[in-house]
Symmetry: C2
Subunit: 162 residues, 2 copies
């Protein structure tokens, strides 16, 4: 089981947008420059974040992407689901109904116990991702990386925002 | 994020093997017949279960696959990892170190907070899968499906075991 690369990119971009000063925005080109990511491929993920209502775009010379809600109101789960969708990771194809002993639908009143156990485990995973919001990721990053790295990012940002 | 089809097949096969009478075994061909699954593709997954030490093969006319441990000692996590591997679902490529403000390794003393949050959520998922064992899945299936379906499966099994 593997998450798409786009999830990593999207979470980093959203966390960076969460750290921007109020009312400022960054273009897709600037975001791809900051993380050294391929611009066109990142653009698709930014569009997915936009469709999910997590980011919005502002027009004009200082326009670009910004969060559509306060960082504390966007969870890691929101970003994961914006990129990878909300479908269950475990897809039950009801193989218990196949083969020589399979019976008509009415013989299976409850969901397959295997699928139920898989989906329960997924639900605890989703709950855990829901506990983490972009505000806490920004705070964690500020504690985690060196002052030099933060200053360097800040200098880049000042130039990018003009 | 999506699990491979092989996980569903492998869990069903293992749960079925867990319900077999002691010392009996089923060939790959019989398992593929019971679940109406493509024989060659299923064989690959049965080999993966064997490599992971979850099933073993016995030789002879009544030979085939059987569980290598008691059902209560094989968890859903064991089966999932036998098929989909033990790698983290979230692959961190350290994009925080990329781009114009990236710094040498010594500036990042802790793992990226985003990766840490993702891996924490995965660990609760794995713990939940570990709580479920094949014995409980057999028990659940016995409660869950109709008597007719169980009798039909039992008849097929009696013929298959000879």
């Amino acid at each position: 089981m593997k998450m798409s690369d786009g999830v990593e990119w999207a979470v980093h971009c959203c966390t960076f947008l969460a750290a921007l000063p109020n009312e400022s925005a960054l273009s897709g080109a600037r975001l791809s420059e900051f993380f050294a990511l391929p611009k066109d491929y990142l653009a698709k993920h930014l569009q997915a974040l936009s469709r999910a209502g997590l980011v919005e775009t502002s027009k004009g010379p200082k326009g670009g992407y910004r969060l559509a809600r306060p960082p504390a109101e966007i969870s890691l789960l929101d970003v994961v689901e914006a990129i990878d969708g909300k479908n269950p990771c475990f897809q039950c194809t009801e193989i218990r109904r196949q083969g020589p002993s399979g019976q008509p639908d009415r013989h299976y009143k409850k969901p397959c116990g295997i699928a139920a156990a898989m989906w329960k485990a997924e639900s605890v995973w989703r709950k855990e991702l829901k506990k983490v919001d972009l505000g806490s990721l920004v705070h964690e990053a500020e504690l985690n990386v060196s002052t030099l790295q933060q200053e360097s990012a800040y200098d880049w940002l000042c130039k990018a925002l003009g």
